[in-house]
């Protein structure tokens, strides 16, 4: 039995860059360098590990919805070892919220064909973390989210979810969707050969018409949520310097007690 894995990935602004909102209160993606969301690297890594440990043929497809530069995220995933990539790009997608994004992803995943969808636990820019569940719901498949260990065999995906109170062993019949956490195993660095091979791998470009999605279902117009206002976080204050003149410990305790930390 062969296995088709689709990994959903996001191209996000570099957290070390000067990130800010555009005038329409969407994230400005033009004036800041972007990259493959670090949390999605874990998803690519798990897909590749499943592929390496699976007895039969596996095809790993990475899928992203985003502007032209989002190809960089796909290229990175291909250089890590994914087999092919799909880039959904359309001007009407500008401003799409999580619900709209899940529609586009679900349609694209259906069109690509899949046995297993692997997502990161959240994006590093929006950090909503709801898209995997929304996509699973739209696809009508089981969702097993926030896994820190994954394996696939005999038509099922199994995994471990580490919660605050308990560790759960979970299993779902394929086709299914999983999301993986940043504790699922460090993502590999692309190898030199992988980078050179990436450009020879197929990268398909689809737009909304390829997915039978109307423009008003997505974008700012179709969004169910709206950013009303955005303000830069105030600069950090200087803080309090405690000078230790023999009573440093007491001062520190008093400081913490005052704020009800102790």
């Amino acid at each position: 039995m062969s296995l088709r894995i689709v990994v959903t990935v996001k191209y996000v602004p570099d957290a070390t860059g000067d990130r800010h909102f555009a005038d329409d209160l969407t994230v400005d993606r033009d004036d800041v360098d972007g990259l493959l969301s670090e949390l999605d690297e874990y998803a690519v890594e798990q897909a590749l590990q499943i592929s390496e440990n699976f007895d039969d043929d596996v095809e790993v497809t990475v899928l992203t919805v985003g502007p032209e530069d989002a190809k960089d995220a796909l290229r990175k995933a291909l250089s890590m070892g994914a087999d092919k990539a799909i880039h959904v790009e359309d001007d009407d997608l500008h401003g799409t919220d999580a619900i709209g994004t899940s529609l586009v992803l679900a349609k694209a995943i259906e069109k690509a064909g899949f046995d297993l969808v692997v997502s990161g636990m959240a994006s590093t820019d929006g950090t909503g973390g709801i898209v995997p569940a929304l996509v699973a719901e739209r696809l009508g498949v089981p969702q097993v989210t926030l896994l820190s260990e994954v394996s696939v065999g005999d038509g099922v995906v199994t995994g471990r979810r580490d919660g605050d109170a308990a560790t759960e062993q979970l299993e779902a019949q394929l086709p299914a969707l999983i999301s993986v956490t940043d504790r699922s195993g460090e993502a590999r660095y692309p190898s030199f050969k992988g980078i050179m091979a990436a450009k020879k791998k197929p990268l398909e470009a689809w737009d909304l018409s390829d997915l039978d999605i109307a423009a008003d279902e997505v974008g700012l117009e179709g969004a169910w949520t709206k950013v009303e206002a955005a303000a830069a976080r105030p600069a950090r204050t200087a803080g309090t310097i405690v000078k230790d003149e023999g009573d440093g410990g007491k001062q520190l305790a008093a400081f913490l007690a005052e704020r009800k930390f102790i």
């Binding site: 290229r75 190898s191 030199f192």
Partner: protein, 531 residues
């Protein structure tokens, strides 16, 4: 008022005149014995390297304002340097005292503090000396190795340096998985070289990124597989290539080089370590020194005299691959049945720590005849093969120097922006800005030259350029790290500050892989005067 197009034209005018001076002087001293008349020959060789870099920096750019400015700043700096070296020695150079008079205005424009200020402004904003103009693939190569360097190397670089520790296995294994050790090994033997035009350029880009994090713990790991891989690929039998190259490419077999001897360094043709044939073996006896990484190495490339007749000179030398276990630490030894031994002892060094450089003593060590590179066909070809192998290493060393310089530049930018003196940031003072601009111009020129030399060597040329860029970039790294350290004030002298490591590491660059003076006199000056 400063105009970009004017700056580009000015830079070109300067470069044209400087190139003419170099050519004229090279023709003038062609009849000399450069070994005897070394003063002018050395200066000529050094200036030829700088002038070639100025020309490449001009060619490298797209003509945008920032690049035109950088090109002019560097060209003017080179002109000023040449002018200083010429003064009072014009007759020896064979040029007129007025040779540079025609470009006085252009040089003045390039040395105008206002122009340097503009360059500094951009460098202070970006920490970059200028755009690299890399292909998409190479940009991804760069960002990938940069990320690895930031994640895995930088956090331990200081500790390795200060404690003189071994390089952690995780760094070596990580780089091995990324294919770092097979960059120049043909794909058919497990490497990634497929004959593309950017092959050596990839190696240069990777080297620069790793060297930015640490010269000793990362950037230099590529050098030895580069040398041994080239020697085997060019001189080995098919069986030897199949046997050795895949392990080297995969990073499973680490490499060391044992060529230099206590009494023979750059004059390597005089080596005394001898190999005597005994049945199916060669028996090696002698002492090698400065064998970097020889402890961890599984393969040691050893140059030894296989012809007892010393009058045949370098034609009596052959190369061996001595297989050995990998040893951690500063001292190691091994023994064979029958009494053969090898002992290694690390030499304490000022910087360039992590790989450790050993003195290695061979005493009647038996090597199978199948481990002489090229076997019977390789007899007497050792010198020739190692010279070819070292040509790539020079290019790689230039890239190491660029990495160290870029790191120093970045630290200088960060520090001078943060540190205030007399009420304003150091970066606001003219003297700081002029230093930053000149450092950046030098980094950009060395990088552009390294890139073009890499392409030239890949296309089976570029031997002169590889030597020139090695000579230039390694000396430049000393100055750039020195200036970066100086800008840090007292903190720059503290081990706690990375820039102090860069300064001591940079010092080795002009000493190894072709000492500065030897490279200038015996390689560059000779080739210039031959042409």
């Amino acid at each position: 008022m400063l105009h970009t197009s004017t700056n580009l034209t000015s830079a070109q005018s300067i470069v044209d005149v400087l190139q003419a001076v170099i050519e004229k002087s090279a023709a003038h001293i062609a009849s000399w014995a450069t070994d005897e008349d070394q003063t002018v020959a050395y200066d000529l060789a050094s200036m030829s390297s700088a002038v070639a870099a100025a020309a490449e920096l001009l060619r490298h750019g797209t003509g945008e304002e920032a690049e035109a400015d950088l090109a002019l700043v560097y060209a003017a700096d080179v002109a000023a340097d040449l002018s200083g070296r010429l003064t009072g020695r014009e007759a020896l150079w064979g040029v007129a005292p007025t040779e540079l008079a025609g470009i006085a205005d252009q040089v003045a424009a390039g040395r105008d503090p206002a122009l340097l200020d503009r360059v500094a402004e951009r460098v202070l904003a970006s920490s970059e000396a200028g755009p690299r103009h890399l292909s998409e693939d190479l940009q991804l190569v760069r960002s990938t190795f940069r990320k690895f360097a930031e994640d895995r190397i930088l956090p331990v670089a200081e500790r390795i340096h200060r404690e003189d520790e071994d390089i952690p296995a995780e760094i070596i294994e990580g780089l091995a998985e990324m294919g770092c050790f097979g960059l120049s090994i043909p794909a058919e033997y497990g490497g990634s070289a497929e004959g593309g035009a950017d092959e050596l350029l990839s190696m240069v880009v990777v080297t620069e990124e790793l060297s930015q994090a640490s010269l000793g713990a990362a950037g230099s790991l590529i050098t030895r597989p580069e040398i041994i891989g080239t020697a085997i690929a060019r001189g080995g039998t098919e069986e030897q290539k199949q046997r050795w190259l895949p392990g080297i490419a995969a990073g499973e077999k680490l490499c060391g080089v044992a060529v230099t001897e206590p009494d023979y360094g750059s004059d390597v043709a005089g080596v005394t370590t001898r190999a005597v044939r005994d049945g199916d073996d060669w028996v090696l006896t002698g002492v090698k020194t400065w064998c970097t990484f020889a402890g961890r190495a599984n393969y040691l490339l050893v140059l030894a005299r296989t012809n007892e007749d010393r009058t045949v000179g370098h034609r009596g030398l052959s190369l061996f691959v001595v297989e050995k276990p990998s040893f951690p630490g500063h001292e190691w030894s091994m023994a064979q049945e029958g009494g053969g031994t090898i002992e290694g002892r690390a030499i304490r060094t000022l910087g360039y720590r992590g790989m450790h450089s050993y003195e290695v003593r061979f005493d009647r060590w038996r090597v199978p005849a199948t481990d002489l590179i090229g076997m019977d066909d390789g007899l007497g070809r050792g010198f020739y093969l190692q010279m070819q192998a070292f040509a790539n290493a020079r290019l790689q060393t230039a890239a190491r120097a660029v990495g160290v310089m870029q790191s120093a530049l970045g630290l200088a930018v960060d520090y001078t922006r943060e540190r205030s003196v007399f009420g304003r940031p150091l970066a606001g003072y003219q003297l700081t800005r002029v230093k930053i601009a000149r450092m950046a111009a030098l980094v950009a020129a060395c990088r552009a030259f390294a890139f073009s030399a890499a392409r030239a060597v890949t296309a089976n040329g570029g031997q002169l350029e590889a030597s020139q860029v090695k000579q230039l970039a390694c000396r430049a790294a000393e100055w750039v790290t020195r200036e970066a350290q100086q800008l840090h004030g007292g903190y720059g002298y503290a081990e706690e500050y990375t820039v102090s490591r860069l300064f001591v590491d940079a010092r080795v660059l002009s000493i190894f892989e072709g000492a500065d003076e030897v490279l200038a006199l015996r390689v560059i000056a000779r080739q210039l005067t031959k042409a």
